[in-house]
């Protein structure tokens, strides 16, 4: 069969061109792509192997640790129990101390409150006792008592110490001296007379005696002369007694 030499040469050239083009556009690109992918896969595989080795190493470490823990579990448990017992004892002791301290403070507070309460009770009791005494004396005050009071006052005037007497005289040493006699009850002439008899020698003729009724003096008589004051009252005794009582408390 006839072979056209031009067709033969043209086909050889065509084939060589095809080889070149396919090498350029197919084989090289595909092979390069596959190599890149294979390298990537190889890298990933090596990474996976590395991670696997690390994981196996970790597992081995964990296993060893677990084995070690299992071996020492009883010992660690006993140590933990002992430590827990010690801690429990320490905490109990601490609680006990705190309770004792709190109890002590509470008892102290209770004692203080008790003492304060008793103190207050005593004061109130004393106050009520003296109030009651005053009330009883006020209720019992009658003419006889008033007479006794006046007599006691006059007796006191008479038995003044020289110094006090000097002070009284000094207070009355003026042209028209006035002595004010204050009493809680009305003084009749019978009661005024002993007072005047006791005062007149001190007051002289020109002096004047003024009688005033004053509820504040209590069951007693009070004398006032230009800055000098002399009084006798049952309240004085009661107040004195109350002061002594409070001092004792």
């Amino acid at each position: 069969m006839h072979i056209d030499p031009f067709i033969l040469i043209a086909q050889i050239i065509n084939f060589l061109v095809l080889v070149y083009l396919l090498k350029r556009f197919l084989y090289d690109r595909i092979v390069e792509t596959m190599n890149i992918r294979e390298n990537g896969i190889a890298e990933r595989m090596s990474e996976i192997e590395r991670l696997k080795d690390e994981a196996l190493a970790s597992v081995a470490t964990c296993e060893a640790r677990k084995h070690d823990i299992e071996e020492h579990a009883d010992e660690m448990l006993n140590q933990a129990k002992l430590a827990a017992e010690k801690e429990k004892a320490r905490l109990m002791e601490q609680v006990r101390e705190e309770v004792a301290h709190a109890q002590h403070r509470w008892l102290e507070t209770l004692d203080r409150e008790k003492a304060a309460f008793l103190e207050d009770l005593r004061k109130r009791a004393g106050t009520y006792v003296f109030e009651t005494i005053r009330q009883v004396l006020a209720d019992l005050a009658d003419e006889e008592l008033e007479n006794r009071i006046v007599q006691s006052f006059v007796r006191r005037l008479s038995s003044l110490e020289p110094q006090e007497k000097a002070l009284l005289k000094k207070a009355l040493d003026m042209p028209e001296p006035v002595i004010r006699v204050k009493s809680a009850f009305e003084l009749d002439q019978g009661l005024k007379r002993p007072i005047e008899e006791a005062l007149r020698p001190l007051l002289g003729v020109e002096g004047e005696i003024v009688y005033e009724l004053n509820g504040h003096t209590g069951a007693g008589i009070e004398l006032m002369a230009h800055g000098y004051k002399l009084s006798w009252s049952i309240d004085d005794y009661i107040e004195s007694l109350q002061e002594k009582f409070l001092q004792i408390l």
Binding site: M1, I9, F15, L18, F25, L26, V31, R37
Partner: protein, 238 residues
């Protein structure tokens, strides 16, 4: 009754344009068509290649094709298929695509032209010493022709020519005869028989592409490995 049209015997006979020595025949047109399909297809697919695990369907197809070609080469030469992939792979793809397109009516495979198969065989004939010399050097390569004694030199040379001729004739004969068989059978069997024959033709075409490229690789491998093995390579032709 016309049993065979002219182009069913050989597309070389269909001259579309001629200017003196230069002529454009159906063989060249169909060859360029096959080349265009292969190159454009490869270019379109390999424009955007993915290096990751996810890739397009066509990239996968081309990767399978290239890997298969490289595996086949590797099985024969037992070394890196890189230097031979382009040549042997192009032989397979060109012949395979040429034979595959016969399913389209009006298409005539360029491989049914003796000029085409001869051209491919000549390429193989030239590639064998080129690969052999580039690997072994010219001295050892030429020395192989005188093994085991100088008396074998003419037989070796004759073997080179005959196997090249066999390559060309085998491919041409198979593809051309397929068309011829279809033409003859159409005269005696009606209707569906051409479809069956087309299917058979596809099978024959693929087998021939495989045989041609495998034989080419075997010849190249024998030239490359003869020196390394220290004995004459298998230079027999099938």
């Amino acid at each position: 009754m016309e049993i065979l049209r002219l182009n069913q015997i050989s597309p070389d006979q269909v001259i579309l344009w001629q200017w003196g020595f230069v002529k454009i025949t159906a063989t060249l047109i169909y060859t360029w068509l096959v080349m265009a399909i292969l190159v454009l297809g490869a270019w379109l697919v390999t424009r955007r290649l993915s290096t990751g695990p996810r890739r397009s369907l066509w990239q996968g197809v081309l990767e399978v094709v290239v890997i298969s070609i490289r595996d086949q080469i590797c099985e024969i030469c037992h070394e890196d298929p890189g230097p031979y992939t382009a040549f042997v792979g192009s032989l397979f793809l060109f012949i395979g695509m040429s034979n595959f397109l016969i399913i389209f009516p009006g298409y005539v495979a360029p491989t049914s032209s003796l000029a085409t198969t001869s051209a491919l065989a000549i390429c193989v004939f030239l590639a064998v010493p080129i690969y052999g010399i580039s690997r072994q050097g010219i001295g050892p390569y030429v020395k192989e022709y005188f093994q085991p004694t100088f008396i074998f030199f003419p037989f070796h040379v004759m073997g080179e020519f005959t196997r090249t001729l066999a390559l060309a004739i085998r491919l041409f004969g198979n593809i051309m005869s397929h068309d011829k068989i279809i033409g003859i059978l159409l005269a005696v069997t009606p209707l569906f028989f051409p479809i069956v024959m087309h299917a058979l033709g596809l099978l024959i075409g693929m087998v021939q592409a495989y045989i041609f490229s495998i034989l080419a690789m075997v010849y190249i491998a024998s030239a490359v490995q003869a020196h390394e093995e220290g004995e004459p390579a298998n230079k027999g032709s099938t």
